[in-house]
């Protein structure tokens, strides 16, 4: 039953197995959690002798901060603004661990509190966001209002409670006495939006900025009580900044009238 030639092969497979068992879960987590800030430089022609400031920003700020970075570079010739977008929790952790960056902007005050030891002065609130309900553009479940999620045939998704968007969802669901259960609890708001835009869910709960970014791909509906559960976006200069004066100026731009109009266009509310 045990012909000799097969044994070496089997042991080799077992060796491979050991590697797979130990590494696979970890590797899988790493593959899309983006542990390091992907340096999505919105660099408009980085000048070689100029200075660079790095801004760590919540993923929902992608469009608006991209535009503000260009404005900033236009006003400061020779300065390049490097933007790194990720989940607020990840960015706060990186800031505390001394990531070489100048400015931190998160999607809620809780994550900014986590980074307290890394910021120079009191963070400023520069924008707010609130939860809305979106459906695919063709609205397959024929949803007309928030109450329709109680209809058993409606498949909807929300964020998991450990993510800021899920925290708000859980609070609102309790307030509005929602009894139906989501089909899935996604780890971040972009995954919720993706489920809706790809037509895998009849409805999803995302930020109003996500609904604006998705444009014609989604239909937006208000969520009762969401005005009382707004999330605030704080911004601060980091202690490890080598260009704190420039970093300060970037923060000033974000909180300026011009900054506010860019943010409003992206769907953010005023602080």
């Amino acid at each position: 039953m045990n012909p000799l030639p097969r044994l070496p092969r089997l042991s080799r497979v077992i060796g491979l197995l050991a590697a797979v068992t130990l590494v696979a879960p970890v590797a899988a987590c790493g593959s899309d959690s983006d542990d390091s800030p992907s340096s999505d430089a919105s660099s408009s022609g980085a000048s070689s002798d100029g200075t660079t400031i790095t801004v760590l920003a919540a993923a929902s700020l992608t469009e608006s901060f991209g535009e503000l970075a260009k404005t900033f570079e236009g006003a400061h010739p020779g300065v390049t603004v490097k933007l790194a977008f990720d989940s607020s929790a990840t960015l706060a952790q990186q800031a505390v661990e001394g990531a070489p960056a100048d400015v931190l902007a998160t999607a809620d005050t809780r994550t900014m509190d986590d980074a307290k030891s890394a910021v120079t002065d009191a963070p400023e609130i520069f924008a707010t966001n609130q939860l809305v309900m979106v459906t695919p553009a063709d609205n397959p479940a024929g949803i007309t209002s928030f109450d329709d999620i109680e209809n058993g045939d409606v498949t909807y998704v929300a964020c998991v409670e450990t993510a800021p968007c899920g925290d708000i969802w859980a609070t609102l669901a309790k307030k509005d006495d929602v009894t139906s259960q989501p089909a899935s609890l996604e780890v971040d708001v972009k995954s919720v939006l993706a489920k809706v835009t790809s037509d895998e869910a009849d409805a999803g709960f995302v930020y109003s900025t996500d609904a604006v970014a998705a444009g014609d791909d989604v239909k937006e509906f208000p969520v009762p009580g969401s005005d009382d559960e707004i999330t605030s976006y704080p911004i601060a200069v980091l202690q490890q900044s080598d260009h704190s004066d420039l970093a300060r100026e970037f923060v000033d731009l974000v909180t300026s009238k011009q900054g506010r109009s860019v943010l409003e266009k992206a769907g953010f509310g005023a602080p």
């Binding site: 042991s11 197995l17 498949t155």
Partner: protein, 269 residues
Amino acid sequence: MSGTRPSAPGAGRAPLVLVLPGAIAAVLLVLPLITLVATTPWRDLPDQLGSTVVHQALWLSLETSLLTVALCAVLGTPLAWLLARVEFPGRSLLRAAVAVPLVLPPVVAGVALLSALGRSGVLGRPLLDGFGLTLPYTTPAVVIAHTFVAMPFFVLSVEGALRTAGERFDVVAATLGATRWTTFRRVTLPLALPGLVAGGVLAWARSLGEFGATITFAGNYPGTTQTMPSLIYTELQADRGAAQSLSMILLAVSILVLAALRQRWLRPL
């Protein structure tokens, strides 16, 4: 990694040019695991072991990974046999295709499954219109996602075993009057058993750790689709310490099962 002890008399000392990179490789593989264990806040563990969410995730992980192995055995063994024993057009192409999920990023595997079996997928749409069936957000979707990523490990392992065993015994059985099905059951399969076991263990391990395809295709909901790796990733958003101690539970379970298997199946190694 056998240190500097020569492997055979007269072979001489192991050359530094091999020992040094080998040692670095060993450190790279082992050190993060040691630090993971060392920095885990163990005091969270009793609470976690008592929580319903963890129970559900652990149970679902065990259930789906075992179902995955069963599905791999039932469907993968015939496929491996076809690849190893039957000449047909496009065989080498099929073998290459079977190996693709090995290199596919799991998240992409999830997107691929959605494009085929999602509500508006190529197969999923007729399934919904014809039978009112939807796969995403269900436990079967988890098993399908796991099978998709784990099957290649199983098929390649069994096919290798079938090739190594060779066709001699099959031919002998045939000359003694056995049909091809009898030969498969009574001769081919028993000879390939070590390959089946190894492939099963590999597929099980891959399934237990599977995360990207599951969360993309099946979703993430406690009790129906949230497996241990999904729960760990979810916890990672809020509390890294809690995520680490959950990883320890998964690690412990997999080591226990492997140790049990070694007792039962792999002792001769």
